[in-house]
């Protein structure tokens, strides 16, 4: 009996390494292709929506999450026209902002589209698959090993942090904000020491179970014809963004 696909990437029959390459190529195309024509923006957004719907990703949530980049991009866009100021007066600054309106729009649109592409990738491929993709793309082993452990220990750290926060809340529910800031350091130190102790135990247990540097995976994704087609489309689109 055939097992039903478990991840969005499996639904699309694509390998994580193919999707990672395609996403990076698209991001590079979007960044290098600045400034963008409206057609380019519509193409990127349509692609994200279509792929998201086909892979049964929560598209509205994806768009909502992508707004994370707006505060920093908006801040930088707000400062950008200042370099065009020829005279430091109200009219000079206003003129600079009129001239720099296009650049401001670009500085907000570009990072937003890039974040959308990367969040779509993250929604399509689970963390473990992306780690496997990095391994297949010959990222140094010391590095992938560290990412593997990071993936493993983020959960451990989360558990320890929740326990410590509960403990602080139960002991000092009315602690002032200033004292809380001072407490962060000690709390972080306690997290480090506890997680390190637990991490060493986990590492010993992993070694005893035959851990060889990468986490075992159920599915093996090979870079196939569909992946090659996906990367080719991404390259063509990226090239089009740059040239047009």
């Amino acid at each position: 009996m055939q097992r039903p696909p478990t991840t969005p990437s499996a639904t699309l029959h694509l390998s994580p390494q193919g999707m990672l390459i395609a996403a990076v190529v698209m991001v590079v195309g979007i960044v290098v292709g600045m400034p963008h024509a409206p057609l380019e923006v519509i193409t990127v957004l349509a692609l994200v929506v279509i792929i998201g719907l086909v892979a049964r990703v929560n598209v509205p949530k994806l768009f909502l999450r992508s707004l994370i980049v707006i505060p920093i991009a908006g801040c930088m866009a707000a400062f950008a026209p200042l370099r065009l100021v020829s005279e430091w007066s109200t009219s000079g600054i206003a003129q600079a902002y009129t001239q720099g309106a296009g650049q401001m729009t670009e500085l907000i649109l570009t990072p937003w589209m890039c974040v959308l592409v990367m969040l779509l990738l993250a929604a399509l491929c689970p963390e473990k698959d992306l780690l496997y993709a990095l391994e297949r793309l010959h990222i140094p082993q010391a590095f992938t090993l560290l990412l593997t452990f990071l993936y493993r220990y983020v959960g451990v750290m989360g558990t320890q942090l929740t326990a410590a926060r509960r403990s602080v809340l139960s002991r000092a529910p009315n602690m002032s904000a200033r004292k809380q800031v001072l407490l962060y350091g000690n709390l972080a130190g306690a997290m480090l020491v506890r997680a390190h102790d637990r991490g060493e135990r986990i590492y010993a247990a992993m070694l005893s179970r035959g851990f060889t540097g990468s986490l075992p995976r159920i599915e093996r994704h090979r870079f196939g014809v569909l992946d090659a087609a996906l990367v080719a489309v991404a390259i063509l689109l990226g090239f089009a963004f740059v040239v047009l």
Binding site: L150, Y153, A195, S208
Partner: protein, 364 residues
């Protein structure tokens, strides 16, 4: 401080990718050479901690908020090169999974948060340790190191934004350093608090004598920081086509009056960051950026490897008693590391033994 995609132009982000990539390649090699499997655990735990702490925002002035960066902390606890790898891992996860920081700007973020911050933080902490090895010195060094690391990294961000012609140099520098000076206080408090806790509860994490050649070497850290300063100075003169910032001062003050810009620009093979013979200006810019990135990366990596070989030859040749002792320690550590890796990778017997030892410890 994570720069998103689109904030840096091709020449800037490709140059920083080259610099960051070469440094990470060297750091990976350094770790493989000097650290054993158990240190990977500490690195991973620290990466997870920094990753978690970066999500905690604390309020600063004018309704804005800042978050912990962690570069200095990693530099103090692990040494500068392992810290580079830890910070790169954190930045990579954030860029791919959370859209925090860009892909094209990952090189810049690695340079700012993964190289400058750990080196500056560890350097300042080490200076404090040379003055006094006491508890107060550890806390003071951690606070000042973290504070300065954040401010210097933010200045680097301002330099990169200006080099991309997306910001006025002095406006960006003023805004970035002002707000990050406030964030730096929070960073300093958290780092000092953490170091204070570790110094009391687990002091061996701070004074690890098993890591040879580099964790506490002021010379090597000074060399890297000096190289970074020279690169930043060169970068600021060459990167921008607009006469603002340093270039403005240089030419307007009359210091550079004797230099005709056209004279040296026309002699350069990739003048104005364009590959000659390519009609499309954007493609010519990309091609020039790629060539520049590959050349810079190759030169940096080659230089570091050459320096390392010469040093190794000097040690094995006519070294003093001290350098010979260092070499013996390094060799012993290397053998131990290799043995540990071999043990971790192949022998289930050794794994079972470790598990048995662990069980005994728990029972005790």
């Amino acid at each position: 401080m994570h720069i998103p995609d689109g904030m840096l132009d091709v020449k800037t982000f490709s140059t920083l990718w080259a610099g960051g990539g070469a440094s990470i390649a060297y750091a990976s090699w350094w770790i493989r050479k000097h650290l054993d499997g158990s240190k990977i655990v500490l690195m991973a735990v620290l990466a997870a901690l920094i990753f978690g702490l970066q999500m905690l925002n604390f309020p600063i002035a004018a309704g804005t908020s800042g978050h912990f960066a962690g570069g200095a902390l990693a530099g103090i606890l692990l040494g500068a090169w392992p810290a580079c790898i830890v910070m790169t891992a954190v930045l990579l996860v954030q860029a791919i999974f959370f859209g925090d920081g860009g892909i094209t700007t990952l090189g810049a973020n690695i340079v700012n948060l993964g190289i400058i911050a750990p080196f500056v933080g560890a350097f300042i902490y080490e200076i404090f340790q040379r003055i006094s090895n006491g508890y107060a010195s550890k806390i003071g060094g951690a606070f000042v190191g973290a504070f300065v690391a954040v401010v210097v990294s933010s200045a680097a961000v301002a330099l990169e934004l200006w080099a991309s012609n997306h910001a006025h140099f002095f406006a960006a520098l003023g805004a970035m350093t002002f707000f990050h000076a406030l964030i730096g206080i929070g960073e300093g408090i958290v780092t000092a608090g953490l170091i204070a806790y570790v110094a009391k509860v687990r002091p061996q994490l701070l004074d690890d004598e098993n890591i040879p050649n580099g964790k506490r070497s002021l010379k090597s850290m000074s060399a890297v920081l000096g190289a970074l300063a020279v690169i930043a100075a060169g970068f600021s003169f060459l990167a921008s086509t607009h006469p603002d910032g340093l270039e403005f001062v240089y030419f307007e003050s009359g210091i550079g009056a004797e230099f005709e810009e056209a004279a040296y620009v026309s002699m350069a093979p990739l003048s104005d960051y364009l590959l000659p013979g390519v009609g499309n200006e954007t493609l010519a810019g990309i091609a020039a950026g790629i060539i520049g990135a590959v050349l810079t990366g190759a030169l940096l990596f080659g230089g570091v490897v050459l320096l390392k070989r010469r040093r190794a030859q000097a040690v094995t040749g006519t070294g003093t008693a001290e350098t010979t002792a260092d070499a013996v320690i390094a060799e012993a550590a290397e053998t131990t590391a290799e043995a540990a890796i071999a043990e971790a990778a192949t022998t289930a017997v050794a794994g079972t033994a470790k598990a048995a030892q662990e069980t005994n410890k728990t029972k005790e």
